[in-house]
Amino acid sequence: MSSNKKYWKSVEELKNDSPIVETLQQKEFAEEIPTDEFLGNKESLESSQTSRRDFLKFVGFSTAAASLAACEGPVVKSIPYVVQPERIVPGVANYYATTIADGFDFSSVLVKTREGRPIKIENNKLGKVNSGANARVHASVLSLYDNQRVKRPMIKGESVSWEKFDREISSRLNALGGKEIVLLTQTFASPSTDKLIEEFSAKYSNVKHVVYDAVSEDAALSAFEAKYGMRALPNYDFSKAETIVSVGADFLGDWQGGGYDGGYAKGRIPKNGKMSRHIQFESNMTLSGANADKRVPVTPSKQKEILSAIYGYVVGGGSNNLSPELDDIVVKAVEQLRRARRGAVVVSGIDDVDAQLVVLAINEALSSEVMNVQDARMIRQGNADDVNQFVQRLNAGSVGAVIMAGVNPSYSLPNADQFNKGLAEVDLAVDFTMKADETATNCEFVAATPHYLESWGDVQLTKNHFSLMQPTIKPLFDTRQFQDALLKWTGNDISYYEYIKNNTKANLGIGGWNDALHDGVFVANDTNVQSTFATTANIASSARKLAQSSKSNGLELSLYTKTALGDGQQANNPWLQEMPDPITRASWDNYITVSKADAERLELMNENVANGALNGSYVNVKLGDTVVKNVPVIIQPGQAKGSVGLSLGYGRKEAIQKEMQVGVNAYPLYKGFNKVQEVSLEKAAGVHEFACVQLHNTLMGRGDVVKETTLEIFNTKDKHVWNHTPEVSLNHEATPVTSPEVDIWDEFDREIGHHFNLSIDLNACTGCGACVIACHSENNVPVVGKSEVRRSRDMHWLRVDRYYSSEETFAEDNEKKDNFSGLWGEDGSLGGFSELEEASTENVQVVFQPVMCQHCNHAPCETVCPVAATSHGRQGQNHMAYNRCVGTRYCANNCPYKVRRFNWFLYNKNDEFDYHMNNDLGRMVLNPDVTVRSRGVMEKCSMCIQMTQKAILDAKREGREVKDDEFQTACSSACSSGAIVFGDINDKESEVNELKKSDRMYHLLEHVGTKPNVFYHTKVRNTSEV
């Protein structure tokens, strides 16, 4: 039987005489196998001395030799100190209080050192302001061991001695001939440095000090100055807040220096039926918006109108042009502000002096006790006008010398080209820097500076609260602080340490210098009375201007800083690069966030490819003549229509390892230091591959994952209404899964000894991710790189899941799911579920949920391990013996929480994973108490067993019981918002025991019956409208 059918693989085959088809038919391999390259070359083959027999001999011998040598242990050397420092005991950690002040992050921290090496950053609990370290601060310890640091002073790229460096500089400074000397520095917020700069100015005439913040708060500073006569920022205590209205201020992020999440979280936990109410007007989806009770997505231009309208309603006078719906929301918000009396506060992130003046006026009119203008924040000093004028003068040729410290204007100035051109013309360009970054490569003189963990310093966080910086390690390289250099150049012989000590004396309290240094913080003695200042600002006209100024036609871009990278200083830090963004959950990238409506209009797409990974389109972002090309697009639920967002801090190329040269540089769009710009987008060719760690974005109405309720229901209804324990049928009777009768496992006796539990309050968790980095640094979690994260092989022991609602709220999701009837039709579950998979297009609710190993008492992973590598401890921890694991990965398959992580490769000392664990310097950050895992073993959260064991041992040695606050995990001690609490539930007085008894307590996927030792607290939203 024959057939005329012709089977074809490609259209080309249908053509009769296609030469391609002909050749391909003859050849099995489309490409030539390059055997000829060595076999064809007769000469080289013959000249080779190695015959086949020789080759086999070598192989045989080396195999035998290797196997013989493997039987012998290596000789390990131990080198003790010659003279051991008194306070260092090998194996025992020392803690030092110090302060980070890198111009962007300011925080009092505690540094854990082992054998003289700093290995971890912790919160300084003695600090009253800015004592909660964020993710970047936690990761900063790794930046100390950055391989790319400048190791010694350099002139024109040549290493020189400091003596020569000093000689050259002073001769150049003296030969300037009256030209201007400009000191371009970061915000130091250091009284001693200010004094030093004054002394320097006195010695060399014509010195101008320009303070430059890469991400500026100039508008807020100017407004404060105009109103209160001092260049500072108001300090807010959100723990006192009852109603918070934020107009475009991401105050849980990096707004005005950040560090407000701890206070905010205190007010979010319902106590006596009360919690704060938070209303957020914003364009990008931010951490603050995600945590808000009510989030209103509006474009930046609308935000100005809203602010003006709030002013109108609070202070009186003025009308507004808001749409009726928005006006209604504003009216209700203002009413709520009024009811909150002194607990009301309005904040704004609009980069406009008028807007900031209006905010100050509103808070004053509300007589808010949340805002504190007496003890004002000093941690942003950057002056946009000064910087702009400086660049002009630089190009005019009137500047003779530029001395920079802690800044990278060649990268971060919007007009960097202009700056670079001017810089090339000056007689003397000095850069004090840790990296040979963009600016340093443009400077003749590069002064290597120490990391803050190697430096001395004093920081004025607020007007009265000071924090001290002290070295925690001997400088790794031949570096010198900017301040020490200034001392040298002004002919002062004392060290900066002595200088601070002398300078601080006047401010110190009773304890004196040593106590202050021990605590790391002190409060100024003279809390001198605020001088009365007659303000000249006309608020009413500001409000009017605000309402009229804003009309916009194109897309409004809001630039922001990401939780992971901030202003981009630590771009070479693999921990931060791999940290997923709390909102988009994408790592190793920045991207433009676009609303769904705008994406459809511009034909931009996001799609998940076969392995689940996320792909997205590219766009070119245009702002006047400036074009930022090939920006990947993420369609962001909750993004205000007509607005887009793009983060600063990415796209650095100099002194950055190749793997970490990711993202695009958005600073060229940061015109006039205004975060809001009008741009146009144009689709570009190509598809971007994201490394996104969360591929499913909605909760699908699964109330057993995240339980959520409203304050009203929480206050009025019984527990089982809003926190229902799942039930199963036992003898046709509904029995709660928690009761022992439905348990197929025998319960262990856990009444004796310690029984550790971890409590996570979803109300207090702001999603900041500090715990993720703290866990990394405590537990030697490896960094796997972008392509591995894209393959879902990220190693984070702790992830902070973010869920969007599919409808406007999660409650509506639940309702929709409950109302499904049948498969098809309007309420059909088939179509319904796929609808639920999509996040809402207009506005979404967001919830964060930190998930780590749940340490189940009936752990599914333990029962399937064929080699008993994972087993249960009496203290409630699920143990993982790495040396026993053979890598079957059954446990990961059987884990309902998907928290187990597999070492697909060797991540240390492997050139394929060239991150900190692949160089001697970076490995210094490793915690010596935790095993560095090898290839082929499973790992997971250990509930920081090394820390609990240490607490127990310390108590045993001292012959006492363990105090409650001694039991900590890395995440719980890093959590400045108090969302994560760890402790022993057999200690009846412990905090965690109280929390476990709370009505809000539930376990993740309780119906599975795993009985976890981690529990969550139902999220309560204050949705009460007036």
């Binding site: 080198i79 401890g873 009496r874 026993r884 108490d929 019981e961």
Partner: protein, 462 residues
């Protein structure tokens, strides 16, 4: 220095076996020879030392002081800061009577600071020379006492001729021993060869005789060879092959089980530190030097400044004549003094000026106890909390001239001890509650570490 290194390796074991086979008996002879020579040398040196002591005793009698009494006083009062023939914290005292007037000395010893205050030029000079450290005043000493001390310190230094001879003898003996072993070996091999040749020759000759005399050598009728019989008996083959397999499995298992177990590992250290002398003879508490064992997970190799606490004033070991000497037949005084000199070199101490010169050379000790990274062990838990003697795991360290790994340090060994050892709960508030509850649960008075949870994987592996 003796090279001692016991690390398992096939190549080494094989080599060792061959050497042992060839040289077993002769080695022993050679060592005895050396030992005998050494003993001779030492005897002569002792004799000489005695002689010099006696002669100096005679001399001292004429100085109206009793050196024997003086020695007692010197050791109790002066030895902390002074040595007879060497500068220490204070100057060397031998020859002091030549440097100063006797009356001046009386006054100085009884109250030196008074003299310095009074501005006595000699006193001030000494005060300045020795870093302005005043000598302790001894008002309790009478002039006669001081005379006795002076008599003792003025005894001339015994001539150091003997040790040189001894060292020479030792070196000669050592190399001689090695040479003779080889020679004897060669001779023996030669003799063996001769014997074989002779045997073959004799056999040949006898056969020839037999042939010549026409005697037929009676040949036994060929029987079935035993190996053939064995091969044909299948049962025997089966049994013996099973037996062989079992035996080889036993040895293979035994071999594999000792891979990575370095019990008895005794590497050569850069400085020959004798635990026998320190912990044994001088009874220094372990935790004096290994102080971090009390508070830390590591016992800590003492830093060199800890050594210098004592070795600042102990620059040499007592020689063989002293009844408390640490010198043994194997290790001479010169050897130990040389090791102390290595310490001085490493820490940058100049014994002649009694000061640090700042040139530090950290010592690269060879680590003996190597726990794998995935096993967590905490010294303080065992030493401070449990109160376990160091010797329990480290063996009789006070008898070890060269430190070695005493315990196998395997997990089985740890577990075993945790099963057998009772937790020391007395007087420890931490254990009060948990002990009471647990002993009720298990119905026992004393809880073992295992019952306390010390067998859980995660207690040591994280």
């Amino acid at each position: 220095m003796k090279k001692v290194s016991i690390r398992h390796s096939i190549s080494r074991i094989l080599l060792f076996a061959v050497v042992l086979l060839l040289s077993f008996s002769h080695n022993a002879i050679a060592q005895e020879e050396t030992a005998a020579k050494q003993a001779d040398a030492e005897k002569t040196s002792e004799a000489k030392a005695e002689a010099s002591e006696a002669s100096s005793g005679d001399a001292a009698a004429s100085m109206e002081g009793d050196p024997a009494k003086g020695k007692e006083l010197f050791n109790s009062l002066c030895a902390a800061c002074h040595k007879r023939y060497k500068r220490s914290t204070g100057p060397a005292l031998n020859g002091v009577t030549g440097r100063h007037e006797k009356q001046w000395l009386y006054q100085w010893i009884k109250n030196s600071s008074e003299m310095i205050a009074a501005g006595d030029p000699e006193a001030v000079a000494i005060y300045e020379e020795y870093n302005q450290t005043a000598m302790t005043a001894f008002p309790q000493l009478s002039n006669a006492d001081i005379d006795n001390i002076l008599a003792y310190v003025e005894q001339p230094k015994p001539e150091p001729t003997t040790p040189v001879a001894q060292a020479g003898a030792q070196a000669g003996g050592g190399s001689g021993g090695g040479l003779s072993t080889e020679v004897v070996l060669a001779v023996l091999a030669f003799v063996l060869l001769l014997l074989i040749v002779v045997l073959v020759l004799v056999n040949k000759t006898l056969n020839r005789f037999a042939e010549a005399n026409g005697i037929e050598v009676v040949k036994t009728p060929a029987r079935k060879p035993i190996w053939k019989a064995f091969v044909e008996n299948q049962f025997l083959v089966l049994v013996s092959s099973i037996f062989l397999l079992l035996v080889s499995a036993y040895f293979a298992y035994g071999y594999l089980m000792q891979v990575g177990v370095d019990q008895g590992y005794q590497p050569v250290q850069p400085i020959h530190f004798s635990h026998r002398i320190h912990a044994g003879d001088n009874q220094i508490e372990c935790k004096y030097c290994h102080s971090s064992a009390r508070v830390s997970k590591t016992s800590g190799i003492p830093s060199l400044n800890v050594c210098m606490n004592c070795h600042k004033s102990i620059g040499e070991v007592a020689d063989a004549s002293n009844k408390n000497t640490s010198v043994t037949e194997e290790y001479s005084k010169e050897f130990y003094d040389g090791e102390i000199a290595k310490l001085y070199d490493a820490v940058g101490w100049d014994p002649s000026t009694q000061s640090y010169n700042g040139e530090e050379k950290p010592v690269k000790w060879v680590r003996i106890h190597n726990l794998p990274d995935f096993a967590y062990f905490n010294h303080s838990q065992h030493v401070s909390v449990a109160g376990i003697a160091c010797q329990k795991c480290h063996g009789p360290v006070e008898e070890m001239e060269v430190m070695k790994q005493f315990a196998p340090l395997t997990m089985g060994w740890c577990i075993n001890c945790h099963r057998e050892t009772n937790v020391k709960v007395e007087g420890n508030k931490y254990y009060e509650k948990i002990h009471e509850e647990l002993s009720k649960k298990y119905g026992v008075e004393q809880l073992t570490a295992a019952q306390m949870g010390a067998l859980e994987c995660g207690k040591c592996h994280y």
